[in-house]
């Protein structure tokens, strides 16, 4: 009775139409295996559909099965080996492509890296050049400044000649009496030994009275060897001695390098 109801429900018609879910399909198959009358009913429904679809058909293609036989041959003969080969080939090709890509990426990365380095180097060079220009300009300005000071009409030039300890030494004092400044041109002095420095003295001659004008500090790094010092003394002569670093209270006359008298 239960089976008759199952058959009458219409589920078998849906089964033949393919309108059921996979789970429902399995359920129908389960019944069909267990109950021959279900199986028979399914075949009858399919039979009716075969008749209907045949009656509504315009027949088979004129070429019939022969029309597709060759295509089936292709499938049988070539498909497995061809597909296998294709898979392997594609796999190798895939790996090869990956490798090439990886190598390519590495190369591009390196190339990029070296370009970056080159840019950095160029950037550094550019900065260096800019720095040099700035330095050159500042040097020109310094030089012009010095030149202007030397040309000032209030400047008295005093030539200092070499003395016993260093006969070849010489120096010049440009004394601007208007602003009470001296520029010492010490180009003719040797570099002082470590721990020593040159000291400039203003001298009164009668009686001989030395007064310290200042130190030629940082002598080695002053490329122009031009030093600016204040001088408010009524100088009659200028002398330069070598003194221990920091200078001395009074000049060490044994180390008098240059000496010159202010002209009338």
């Amino acid at each position: 009775m239960e089976i008759e109801n199952y058959i009458a429900s219409g589920i078998l018609e849906l089964y033949v139409a393919g309108a059921l879910s996979p789970e429902e399909n399995l359920e129908v198959q389960h019944y069909a295996l267990k109950h021959p009358e279900v199986e028979k009913e399914i075949e009858a429904i399919e039979g009716a559909m075969l008749q209907l679809t045949a009656a509504a058909s315009a027949g088979i293609p004129p070429s019939g099965f022969d029309g597709i036989r060759d295509e089936l041959d292709d499938v049988i003969v070539f498909k497995p080996s061809a597909s296998e080969k294709r898979t392997n080939w594609a796999t190798y090709l895939g790996w090869a492509a990956s490798l090439i890509l990886a190598v390519g990426l590495l190369w591009v990365y390196r190339e990029n890296d070296s370009l970056k380095t080159e840019i950095e180097v160029s950037q550094q060079e550019k900065e260096n050049l800019e720095q040099q220009i700035i330095e050159a300009r500042s040097e020109v300005a310094d030089t012009e400044n010095i030149l202007n000071q030397l040309r000032d009409q209030n400047v008295t030039v005093v030539a200092l000649g070499g003395q016993t300890v260093s006969p070849t030494s010489y120096a010049k004092v440009y004394w601007n009496t208007e602003v009470n400044k001296v520029l010492i041109d010490a180009q003719g002095l040797p570099e002082p030994p470590p721990g020593y420095t040159y000291q400039v003295w203003s001298l009164k001659l009668n009686p001989l009275t030395p007064t310290s004008v200042g130190l030629l500090d940082d002598f080695v790094n002053n490329e122009k060897r031009v030093f600016e010092l204040p001088n408010e003394n009524e100088s009659e002569a200028f002398g330069i001695t070598l003194e221990p670093e920091g200078g001395s209270e009074s000049p060490t006359l044994e180390q008098l390098y240059t000496l010159g008298v202010v002209g009338p």
Binding site: E46, G47, L52, S57, G59, I68, I76
Partner: protein
């Protein structure tokens, strides 16, 4: 059973078994395709392609997918519906429901002289239009029970009982010698 054996051999790529299956189902399958695409020449091409596809996919069939006929019917109507879509007939889909299968009944004589119109009319004798629509949706369009219920705005249970009644009606119209 003989059909089961035939299918097993077909799945082992036995061409002569497949030729027998072709002989058993080609008329039905080609008919279903033509009913959907309504272009006899194109339908024949698609039909041959479908059988090649069935051959190619033979290893994917198992009984959990239902009857062998149901399986190949599904492949056929999918191919036919793809054809319709590729022809941009999508927008006319609703109309197509109405006139594909039902239309063949009404205009069968004009559409194709080879069609067994008398046989068809005999089979469908006494069937109401809603039966024809339901057969069209479920068997020719591959609608699920739920989709058919939505399409026809009918309770889902009614679909089952109605298709049972419709197919039973056809079975009664079948000549006694054709019955199983």
């Amino acid at each position: 059973m003989q059909l089961d054996t035939l299918i097993l051999q077909f799945q082992k790529k036995d061409k002569s078994a497949f030729e027998k299956l072709y002989g058993m189902y080609a008329e039905n399958i080609c008919g279903v395709i033509n009913t959907i695409v309504k272009d006899p020449e194109r339908a024949q091409e698609i039909c041959q392609d479908v059988f090649v596809k069935i051959w190619d996919k033979s290893d994917t069939y198992d009984t959990s997918k239902g009857r062998f006929f149901t399986w190949i019917l599904n492949i056929a109507r999918n191919a036919a519906i793809d054809e319709l879509r590729s022809k941009a007939h999508k927008n006319k889909k609703k109309n197509l429901h109405m006139d594909s299968f039902v239309g063949i009944l009404a205009y069968g004589d004009d559409l194709n002289s080879q069609m067994d119109t008398i046989g068809l009319k005999t089979l469908l004798n006494g069937l109401k239009e809603k039966c024809l629509l339901l057969i069209d949706l479920l068997y020719y369009k591959g609608f699920t029970q739920k989709e058919a219920a939505e399409e026809l705005d009918t309770p889902i249970g009614t679909i089952k009982t109605r298709i049972r009644a419709c197919i039973s009606n056809i079975r009664k119209n079948m000549a006694p010698s054709d019955g199983n």
